[in-house]
């Protein structure tokens, strides 16, 4: 079975627009896309945004994008939800859930099975944020989002975290114990578990390692068969560089070994900073990343 390689297209979307981003990913040979819902376009509170329009109009917009992807033979297998996590401001948090409903609806229209979201982050608070508050915010947020996902027959994926850059400490959910607990609370709910899954962000987990957390491969092993979605990228553990795999310090053979151990059969999706080599090299960077990932997979699994 040929393993599928995917690209998070949010940067291409920002630079070239949604349609051209899909075309570029297809032209570069990617099998799948992680389509990004970009603010301010995806915020119903902004009167000129797409999300402020009726559901029918929003569906119509994404149906056209789906058609383009189909014509180009590329699958939009996952999406990235709007914004950060809950910030403990009732109006803001309610708006996040409302925007997430539209994310889920749009994901369904695009044919994506999963919408990846961010937990609440320490960066919205202080380094000594109350743990109980964070746990409650995470549960309330994920529950609301998973209920949205259930309505549209997709899954919400919670993404692994790293450090809280502005405070030089581990993010609350960068702590693997807290992350695992937040996921297990949702998995424990019979009404929610089928519409919830885990996204391993290798770069984020690599940064969390600086604060005593396991290496990315072991995060995969820890989350086990719940891992169905990936944000693959590399870094030096200090900054969230979103570099092409093998250009940082992650042990990629260990990542592949871990994925095999948990019977991962999804998409090898990369979430890259395509500006790494300059603003004029987005497409070239995406093209090279595809070649690197295909070579990694071929070296390990043969020419599938």
């Amino acid at each position: 079975m040929k393993r599928k390689i995917g690209l998070s297209t949010i940067e291409l979307q920002s630079e070239y627009g949604d349609r051209r981003a899909i075309e570029i990913a297809a032209e570069l040979g990617y099998d799948t896309i992680d389509f990004g819902f970009i603010t301010p376009k995806c915020d119903y509170r902004k009167s000129d945004s797409l999300y402020s329009k009726s559901d029918d109009e929003i569906i119509s917009y994404y149906t056209e994008l789906k058609k383009l992807a189909d014509e180009k033979g590329i699958i939009i297998n996952q999406t990235h939800g709007v914004g950060g996590g809950f910030v403990n401001k009732p109006e803001e948090d309610a708006a996040l859930i409302a925007n997430n409903r539209i994310d889920c609806m749009a994901s369904k229209v695009l044919g994506a099975e999963t919408c990846v979201v961010h937990n609440p982050t320490t960066m919205s608070f202080t380094p000594d944020v109350d743990p109980e508050l964070m746990r409650k915010l995470s549960y309330d947020m994920l529950k609301g989002m998973v209920q949205n996902a259930k309505k549209y027959g997709i899954k919400i994926a919670s993404e692994t975290f790293g450090d809280a850059v502005c405070f030089d400490c581990v993010d609350f959910f960068g702590d693997i114990n807290e992350f695992e607990m937040s996921c297990n609370k949702i998995f424990a709910e019979p009404e929610l578990k089928d519409n919830f899954t885990v996204c391993i962000d290798t770069g984020h987990s690599n940064k969390a390692m600086r604060f005593g957390n396991p290496k990315p491969g072991d995060v995969i092993r820890r989350m086990g068969k719940n891992v169905t979605v990936l944000h693959l990228h590399d870094n030096d553990t200090f900054t969230d560089q979103h570099k092409i795999p093998t250009t940082g310090c992650i042990d990629w053979q260990d990542i592949f070994s871990a994925l095999e151990e948990v019977d991962f059969d999804g998409v090898y999706n990369m979430e890259l900073n395509l500006h790494t080599f300059g603003d004029n090299f987005l497409i070239e960077t995406a093209e090279f990343a595809h070649k690197v990932m295909r070579k990694l997979l071929c070296d390990r699994y043969g020419n599938e």
Binding site: D70, G73, M105, V109, G153
Partner: protein
């Protein structure tokens, strides 16, 4: 004047029943025209046995006695199917007097690895796959129909139309599935985007957003009066082929199932009445 007939798929009854039993049950409800769902036959049914031709002749005889005609059919697999069964279907169609057989288009690059093919590949692959089938079916007086599905390029009536044009045979056309279109956010109006007028329909309802529910018309969110007006505007000359099997298959009792099938027949009748009143 050509009259549009109400036809139902035989897939509205549980698949463990014999084809003859299904035909007799549907005849009792009041159906006169059937779409034989070859794709529901298990491998131990007479169709897959040694005496399949005799089985087909007996089925024809029984149908004649019940005043039922088989007019449409649905093949197992997709256009890449080269098993003996697909060619057997054509012969059975000839014996039963069936004019149309729906064969799904190919929309991905392999069974086990769902990577959708792009539009050019879709057309090239399907033309190549369909031509031998059309030739074989033609020898039995059968027309092969492709169908708009739920995945990749197969969603779009305009691309299906291009496929029909590319095959360019009087024994090849397409079947418009109302439910597949609606589930995928394709407007039923898009039937007009195809360069080829469909030769058949799969009439079924759903609530959109990729829920291929196969509900009775009226139980989802398709505007059926609008659809019948659209049909009138096209040059459609085919029948109203019902593929609304979900509720009858889910029925808990036989009487509930019969009521659902009777309701389905009535709704189709109302649609045809509405259609006949349109100018």
């Amino acid at each position: 004047m050509i009259m549009m007939k109400t036809v139902t798929t035989t897939a509205v009854l549980p698949y463990d029943r014999s084809a003859e039993a299904v035909m007799r049950e549907l005849a009792l409800v009041g159906y006169k025209y059937l779409d034989l769902a070859f794709d529901t036959f298990a491998s131990d049914t007479p169709f897959y046995g040694e005496n399949w031709e005799e089985w087909a002749r007996n089925l024809k005889k029984a149908a004649d006695e019940c005043g039922v005609s088989y007019t449409h059919s649905h093949a197992p697999g997709d256009a890449s199917n080269r098993s003996e069964a697909i060619f057997r279907c054509f012969k059975v169609c000839e014996i039963l007097g069936i004019r149309y057989i729906v064969v799904h288009p190919i929309f991905k690059n392999s069974e086990n690895n769902i990577i959708y093919i792009n539009k050019d590949e879709f057309l090239e692959l399907n033309v190549k796959a369909v031509l031998p089938l059309v030739k074989a079916a033609e020898a039995h007086g059968v027309t092969v129909l492709t169908e708009n599905l739920l995945w990749g390029c197969s969603l779009y009536p305009e691309i299906i139309g291009e496929l029909v044009d590319a095959v360019d045979s009087k024994s090849f056309g397409w079947c418009f599935d109302t439910g597949h279109a609606n589930a995928c956010g394709i407007s039923i109006e898009d039937v007009k985007k195809s360069s080829a007028v469909p030769l058949s329909l799969h009439v079924q309802d759903n609530h959109g957003l990729f829920r291929d529910e196969h509900l009775l018309p009226g139980d989802g969110n398709i505007d059926w009066q609008h659809f019948m007006r659209l049909l009138k505007d096209t040059d459609y000359k085919g029948d109203l082929v019902l593929e609304a099997h979900h509720q009858s298959l889910e029925a808990k009792t036989e009487s509930e199932r019969t009521n659902i099938l009777s309701d389905l027949l009535n709704r189709a009748g109302n649609m045809l009445n509405y259609y006949s009143l349109l100018k």
